[in-house]
């Protein structure tokens, strides 16, 4: 199972890097979604997988101590999913607004702010 998950994480990372290198900003956004998902999967995998073991130990701790599921990786993933969702929705809006303002989705053409004398409005 670990091997399968490791390969999945690797392949997802490769796909997301490919998408991130694209000129089209929507594909970049998909790359970000995918890379944050694969990082979550990575945390899940390196946190060790346990089969059929309780996360919380009852009144007879001695009985279960040999095998119990570590709840921490899940807690970490939960946190990073929440943060990732917020950030991805922000970037989706940002890219949409940038598209409305500049009229392009091509990141190569978004160079005006670097070449022109861009001064902030008050």
């Amino acid at each position: 199972m670990e091997v399968l998950l490791s390969w999945t994480v690797g392949i997802l990372f490769a796909i997301s890097v490919y998408l991130l290198l694209n000129k089209n900003l929507i594909r970049v956004l998909f790359g970000i979604v995918l890379i944050s998902t694969s990082v979550n999967l990575l945390i899940f995998t390196v946190g060790r997988l346990t089969h059929n073991a309780p996360a919380f130990i009852g009144n007879k701790p001695v009985l279960f101590l040999s095998s119990y599921a570590n709840a921490l990786p899940q807690a970490l993933i939960l946190t990073s999913i929440v943060i990732g969702f917020g950030v991805v929705s922000f970037i989706l809006i940002l890219i949409t607004r940038a598209w409305q303002a500049t009229g392009t989705m091509d990141s190569d053409k978004m160079r005006e702010s670097e070449t022109m004398d861009a001064e902030a409005p008050e």
């Binding site: 991130l20 990082v39 990073s80 500049t102 861009a118 902030a120």
Partner: protein
Amino acid sequence: MNNIILLPLLIPLLGAILQFCFLRGVRVQRWLNLATCSLLLVSAIVLIFLVLKQQYIVLQVGGWRAPFGITLIADILAAIMVLLTAIVGFCVAIYSFSDIGLRNVRVGFYPAYNVLLFGLCGAFLTGDLFNLYVWFEVVLISSFILLVLSGGKFQLEAAVKYAVLNLIATLLLLSAIAFLYGITGTLNMADLALQVQDSHAPGLITVVAVLFIVAFSMKGAAFPLFFWLPASYHTTTYSSSAIFAGLLSKLGVYALIRVITLIFLVNSPYLHFIIAVLAGLTLLTGIMGAITHHQPRRVLSYSLISHIGFILVGLAISTPMALLAAIFYLIQHVVVKTGLFLSAGLIHYYQKSGFRCLYFSKPIFSVMFFILILSLSGIPPFSGFWPKLLLIESAIAAGQITLLVIMILVSLLTLYVMVRLWIQYFQVKQTQASFVYQVVERKSMLLSVAVLVGLALVIGLLPSLCYHLAKLTELQLLHPENYVHAVLKRTV
């Protein structure tokens, strides 16, 4: 008594909540923000005095014992960074009175600004690696908001680059944290320091360390991955760009210093070599970028990158004196760079009001700007000179001749770039505007620049003050076992 460590977190958070309640009241928000920042400054000063007395202030949040819960810890480095955050936050709060227009206040500049300060203080004070990632995200999201607040075409364009590249950096950081957790099974920095030393796989640890270096150097705008910085800093409001330049890029460097001196002590010559290469290239590419640009904030952004290189040189050489110099440099650079970015705003407004040749029309401001550029380039009595002297001495002692040559070259080129700005805006008799058509008195902006210039002068003329502070910090950084003991309450 240890609860005092929570004050720099709670004050900006409460400030942000209060300001949200008065989103329409522009004046209320401005004064509330100033009050918040003054309180933050007071609490930061109290914190640093307490830390100097007790060495470490540790708080286990929720009473969970150390490796299990989240630890907040203030050592001297963290306390210095919180104090710098408070000082810069206070100056920018004054500055924003005339810089931030009504519209930006109504769409929530001040709450976002306070959340940014909150995130910065949290990142400096945390003793937990995953918690550090969360604070990085808090800082990141609030900086997104500050960046796009004006909603213009250029801001949106710059924000896309800033957001995407920074997000990839935090995701790299998260995967590095995941790997480290997989190897050691802990996230508490003090516990990590122990576990990494006892680890059976030093090779794997080194790989993870390099991943951390990549993530933090991307955050701190070091050599190959700094392109988000000059693409975005010059588009936003002057207040935001000043706080970004002063503190945000230092956050990456701070985190790098923290993990390198505390956790990754195995196989460190290899890591130091990587950092040395990054530092040298950062110094050179940054200053080359500064030479090719003319707009003040673009020039300052690139010179900011090259000066990150100076701090990295200190970390790379990593002798006691070099670390001391790096911390000294960090302190003075935050003050001077913020001052310069705020002055860029003043230059812009004076130009817009029709003033040309500022040396004759605005003599006081000119003197202040001149002191700042001399401090940045490191001319003897001013603040940049002392840490550079220490860095050069330690480079000679360590036999790092290449770095030495690069540092001296970059110092000279910084002087050239800054003097060019000076000539361009202060001395050249441009075609005089026939009349001054819009006299705007920007007293609050001038005041905040004056505060920072005063601080830079104090650092420069009384170098022993900062030297001793940096010396104490360096002693703490070189004895991570005390840090571990303070958190875990057991001897190593």
